[in-house]
């Protein structure tokens, strides 16, 4: 090791790998992964979230995790986004493409993608 920069480089490279363990970030993306969710295609959605959050360097503040049956099986795959101090946003009938869009607009831009939320489907 010859310089602090060299050390910093290893740290930056490794950060993604340990950041999961620092507990939840400010924002939590929860993908419903019960049997119904998986059958409806939740796995590619989850994988897309994990991939994009990492690629966009959002892992400091966004935690992607999974949960069991949310209870609205007809709307699966369901994704809920929790943010401290804000109301929970529930996205339904998700796909990998929609997930990409949510990362871009909601997680990065702070804009809820209204047309994918449960409110849009129910009204």
């Amino acid at each position: 090791m010859k310089s602090l920069a060299e050390l910093q480089k290893i740290k930056a490279r490794m950060q993604d790998k340990v950041v999961l363990r620092e507990g939840s970030g400010d924002v939590r993306v929860v993908v419903g992964m019960a049997t119904c969710g998986i059958a409806a295609g939740a796995r590619p959605v989850l994988n897309e979230f994990v991939k994009d959050v990492n690629e966009e360097n959002l892992s400091d503040k966004v935690t992607v995790s999974q949960t069991g049956c949310i209870g609205i099986c007809q709307y699966e795959p369901v994704v809920e986004i929790f943010e401290a101090g804000k109301e929970k946003v529930t996205y339904v009938k998700m796909t990998a493409d929609k997930a990409k869009e949510v990362v871009e607009k909601h997680l990065k831009g702070g804009q809820v993608v209204e047309q994918y939320t449960i409110g849009a489907y129910q009204s």
């Binding site: 090791m1 010859k2 310089s3 602090l4 050390l7 290893i10 740290k11 490279r13 490794m14 950060q15 790998k17 340990v18 999961l20 363990r21 507990g23 939840s24 939590r28 929860v30 993908v31 419903g32 992964m33 019960a34 049997t35 969710g37 998986i38 989850l46 994988n47 994990v50 991939k51 990492n54 935690t63 992607v64 995790s65 999974q66 949960t67 069991g68 049956c69």
Partner: protein
Amino acid sequence: MIRSQVLICGGTGCTSSGSPKIRAEFEKQIQNYDLQDEIKLVQTGCFGLCSLGPVVIVYPDGTFYSRVTEADVPEIVEEHLLKGRPVDRLVYNDTDAAPTDTHTETALSETRFYKAQKRVALRNCGVIDPENIEEYIAMDGYAALGKALTEMTPEDVIKCVTDSGLRGRGGGGFPTGRKWALCAPNKAPQKYVVCNADEGDPGAFMDRSVLEGDPHAIIEAMAIAGYAIGATKGYVYVRAEYPIAVKRLAIAIGQAREYGLLGENIFDSGFSFDLQIRLGAGAFVCGEETALMTSIEGNRGEPRPRPPYPAVKGLYGSPTVENNVETFANIPQIILKGAEWFASMGTEKSKGTKVFALGGKINNTGLVEIPMGTTLREIIEDIGGGIPNGKKFKAAQTGGPSGGCIPESLIDTPVDYDNLTAIGCMMGSGGLIIMDEDTCMVDMAKFFLDFTVDESCGKCTPCRVGMKRLMEMLEKITKGQGTLEDLDKIEQLCYYIKENSLCGLGQTAPNPVLATLKFFRDEYVAHVVDKKCPAGVCKDLLSFSIDKEKCIGCGLCARNCPVNTITRTDYIAPGHKLASFEIHQDKCVKCGACMANCKFKAISKQ
């Protein structure tokens, strides 16, 4: 892309309760479900809750699984990792909160065991893979060494450590900064840094856990110490009974060399430092600093008189700084976050945190790190989860065989160096043994004395002969043959040994006796005058008897008696059909098997 990590504890406790098998099963099941690209398995050091091992934590949710068996693994993989449903029956939860939101109530950080803790020395234990230097670097590892070598002078480093108020965690409590400052000005061709990992107190395993869970922190800290005092060589003296710690430390040293964090010209600063491991054979006295150095030199581990102190004349006659593992574990954080940060934790004269190995009659046996000044009550009731089986707290032993006991009346004492010394106890290295009402304090003192008699190196007479005589007098008391004069004699001899012994072993060995005499004199008196052991432990003072009115005559006691000293009488109690039994005291060995087997509570001991 990794979306979830499964951390499996690889500390000594969990390893012996089967974590390697669990790891293998996880590997198999993850392959089975084709999840190897999404789930990463990490073997870590000790999480602290050893009594609940093997422990598995699943991130990012932080779900804490306890007492996991091989058979549980397929369920965890299928339910939790594949489908996202934590396996509730295995999730550890000691909070009173109703399980509403599964994500918060199952998280490790929310449990009462962890909530009151403040992890500084243990910050990476149970978080990183100790066999992977890059994970340590990701957690700011070696940044403190980099900062010290590139931005600070050795004087700055010493000042920072001094200002932090860090005191030796091995038991003595000597200010670490002052120790370094005493050594730094001494000129010599070769100076040394020594890490004392010869953890010998029965029931203490703080140092082992740090070495197993975060070995790089010790390497980094020793290099920083080397820079501060001008030493280029270091030794870690660790007991051979810690095979996992030794192995991980050796791996860590190898990796540090490979990355140029040990060796020549570290960070291009001109400073060179290297480390070697020396294995101890497990003699308690080798934890004493001068005996430890004598042992490193290849001689029989015996202490020598001080002064000269090691700072002037230590290992191989050269100026040496010796610190304990936990002391070193604090150093990188102090350098990185500053003296003020560290000094903001703790009490006026005891800064920072302390790691305790919680053991004995307590629900959560394990490793806890608390800010100095936390009361014993908080440690026992909140973090420790109280005493099992609804028993009453009697006393806590700190400092192992060198320490003393804290009785119930002092349970609200804030734990720090000076408070414990003031009540005739000592901080010690961190063993904290909780005792309930079933513990006989005379027997407890005898237990520790038995240990120190065994471990005395024999070099000086007060310790070698004095302790033996002390032991004999205690034995006399537990056999019911003691006199009140013996109590005075014991006290006198204790002070004599303390004042005249050569090293810390002898100087502190009578402490368990003195402390119990001070706080539990009535128990000694009960043994001597009434010939009774109030806790029902000392066998020679016990007798078992059968209440003939309660005995239904089933004969279970007689069948279980190993010496056949229970026989049937002629007496049939009213309402019963069979004649009752009786115990013949002459042959009774007081094993208690009869009492344990009686289903009618007809047998009592007193």
